[in-house]
Symmetry: C2
Subunit: 168 residues, 2 copies
């Protein structure tokens, strides 16, 4: 697990904006700063409270959503981290009894990865903490402000998705 546009050492990126910068750039830097602050907090809590990393958390989150298991190739498509380390993370989680690998009957070369019962229990506990951390960090914001932000982000998301689809 390595570097990120977002990481714990990141200062307030918005301070990078110069007065002459266009409003859209300032908006993007502010968006990124918010993501940075929250993501680095999550990384640090996963590390100190669960001795785990975001990619491990992410991989387990994917598997929880696929009770029938996933092939390695599907995992890499769905994960938030690129596939560089997926094999390594899976090996490690298997050793710890969190996931199990089973051969696919129709394709002997690939395996299906599943969370074990222990893996499910462990992940659910972390996911609950994860949710509580987010709630704790956002506690000072009124419900009205959160609703406004949620809607404004919804609009941005739609516009960005549309733009990217038009271009592709």
């Amino acid at each position: 697990m390595t570097d990120s546009y977002l990481n714990a050492t990141t200062p307030d990126l918005e301070s990078r904006a110069r007065p002459e910068d266009h409003g859209d750039l300032r908006l993007w830097l502010r968006l990124l700063t918010c993501c940075n602050l929250l993501e680095s907090d999550i990384r640090s809590r996963l590390r100190t409270e669960y001795e785990t990393t975001l990619p491990r958390f992410d991989l387990m989150a994917q598997l929880l959503r696929a009770p029938e298991g996933m092939k390695m190739s599907e995992l890499s498509r769905h994960m938030m981290v690129t596939n560089g380390n997926i094999t390594g993370i899976t090996d490690q989680l298997e050793k710890e009894g969190m996931v199990e690998r089973n051969k696919v009957a129709t394709d002997r070369r690939s395996s299906i990865i599943k969370l074990t019962a222990k893996g499910k229990r462990t992940f659910r506990k972390m996911a609950e903490s994860h949710e509580q951390w987010i709630q704790g960090v956002m506690a000072g914001m009124s419900e009205k402000s959160k609703k406004n932000l949620f809607e404004a982000l919804g609009e941005l998301k739609l516009i960005v998705q549309t733009q990217l689809t038009l271009r592709s």
Copy 2:
């Protein structure tokens, strides 16, 4: 340059939220999705239009803000990427004539890194494109919506920063 909570293969993370999830978690996933979409677009444009990477762009951005140059240690503190690759990136940029290293008179073990004139020209061109990409992607959003989003994010940023400061 490697993995990220944010990356090009990331699908819409918000789809990961379950109906029973708390609103704060949904808000976080939506925020992260917006960052993902924009960041992966920037990475892909830097690659296709400038054959460069986000950490290289980031490093040059830091240096542009420090006309007197920066020590390696300062660079790693200020960059958006962790310091794993900073030495490698700096070596590469030096070979390409984008940066220069000068020994510090008072401390022979450390060097000051600066953008060369070529580095400045190159970075300014990329930064201009970067800004235009952001504007292009956000073009479908009204000024009023952008203003609302900017303010709502400002509120979130302040609350998160306050929370993190209180805890540290």
